[in-house]
Amino acid sequence: MFRKFGKFLLFLYELFTRRESLKVYWKRFIDECMMIGVDSLLIVCIVAFFIGAVTCVQINANLVSPLIPTYIVSNIVRDMMLLELSSTFMCVILAGKVGSNIASELGTMRITEQVEALEVMGINAASYLVLPKVLAAFVMFPVLSVLSGFIGIVGGYIAGTATGIITPEQYIYGIRFSFIPFNMVIPIIKSAVFGILIATISAYKGFYTRGGALEVGKVSTTAVTNSCIAILIADYLLAELLT
């Protein structure tokens, strides 16, 4: 366990040694942003929309007291989306998509000797292949998180108003009621941290793949489960630190 963690730290150190020129990284960074960010837009929008909608319906179903004003429904939807669902839940979903993609890509490169081909050329394969992915995850995950927060609140609005749970005016009032601006920053910080965790853990798993196609599948699964565990632990620590 400690040995593996030590190897992971050495792997992280390796990312920042013997770096290539910025020009080389820039092109790879843009490509990775497309893969991690743009290619994940559809899944993020669909998931966020329905999470927001379901949250609105569920809260309404469980808050039946006449003493609680209706606008509290959208108030809770807002806070749940901003504080937890748009960052933690969304990143768990993205760990499945992005994490497995990174692990299987690097794993396949390893077993087909593409990583060795880079090393033989004197290129730091870890830095060349992984650093752009980590930076892209660091930049794109907060963007996706902000987007999912917005889409989730819109999803709640559409579900709430279409089914008569809440009027549009009450929903908007609830969203604006007792708003704390720092709550907008929390999902950005959390998703940036989760993005780094997913990218580094998945890359580490993929980079040290040994064996054949079967092992690539296995490391891909391990990368996702390990990333999810890391996200949940980090979520607790960040919740303690930020709230």
């Binding site: 396949t108 087909t112 033989v120």
Partner: protein, 248 residues
């Protein structure tokens, strides 16, 4: 010239390479042969420092390699070209981009110079028309040829080929062998080929080292390999029925 001295390597207590020494000369195609699992590929990886040997030294034209600083090793590696078993082409790049990759990463040439060099190398391996194709769209033999083009694009002093014929039909295998030999003679490279293909042994084996259970037990050329009487070598060389009949 490449010289290896007393290379040994164990994995989990199992000795894969046992005190291997030898010389690979300039302008010559040297073959390391042996049955599967005898340590041929591990020896190649030790020579490239992709696997660290437990003991031993590797000298490239008298320059010790394994115990140098990282920077010096990287500089020396840039004098090497390697053809990996499956070609090891980057799946997300076209054939042209694959061959150009070492130039992009390791040189400061202009785009025009790079294009000329890549076109020359692709022409040299007979793939001038395949530049725009992806690795997934070309055959195994073509992948090997692209791998050779990428390996020679920086004019290496040392060329390593790991099982260049694996997975290829006999005719394509012969063409790949001929290409490797032509390149060796044209550029005077020190070429090391890892193989267990007897056609290659007989056609391009100017210097042959035979490994058996991690030890080098015989060294010679393609003529002497057929006349040497050594049980382990006989079992390997004459496993082919036609060759057995040839020997009588």
């Amino acid at each position: 010239m490449i010289e290896i001295k007393n290379i040994s390597k164990s994995f989990n207590g199992r000795k894969v390479l046992d005190d291997i020494s030898g010389v690979f000369r300039d302008g010559e195609t040297s073959l390391v042969i042996g049955a599967s699992g005898t340590g041929k590929s591990v020896l190649l990886k030790c020579m490239l420092d992709l696997v660290s040997p437990d003991t031993g030294e590797v000298f490239y034209d008298g320059r010790e390699f394994l115990h140098k600083s990282e920077k010096e090793r990287i500089d020396l590696r840039r004098e090497m070209g390697v053809l990996f078993q499956g070609g090891a082409l980057f799946a997300s790049q076209t054939v042209f981009q694959n061959v150009k990759f070492p130039l992009d990463m390791l040189t400061k040439q202009s785009e025009a110079e790079k294009r000329d060099r890549v076109e020359f190398c692709l022409k040299r391996v007979g793939l001038e028309a395949a530049g725009s194709r992806m690795p997934s769209e070309i055959s195994g033999g073509m992948k090997k040829r692209v791998g050779i083009a990428r390996a020679i694009v920086l004019n290496p002093k040392y060329l390593f080929c790991d099982e260049p014929n694996s997975g290829l039909d006999p005719l394509t295998s012969i063409k790949i062998d001929e290409l490797i030999q032509e390149i060796t003679q044209e550029y005077g490279t020190t070429t090391v080929v890892i193989t267990h293909d007897m056609n290659s042994v007989l056609s391009i084996g100017q210097n042959i080292k035979f490994l058996y259970q991690g030890k080098k037990i015989w060294e010679g050329d393609s003529n002497s390999i057929l006349t040497t009487h050594l049980q382990e070598l006989d079992e390997f060389v004459f496993s082919n029925h036609a060759l057995k009949q040839l020997r009588g």
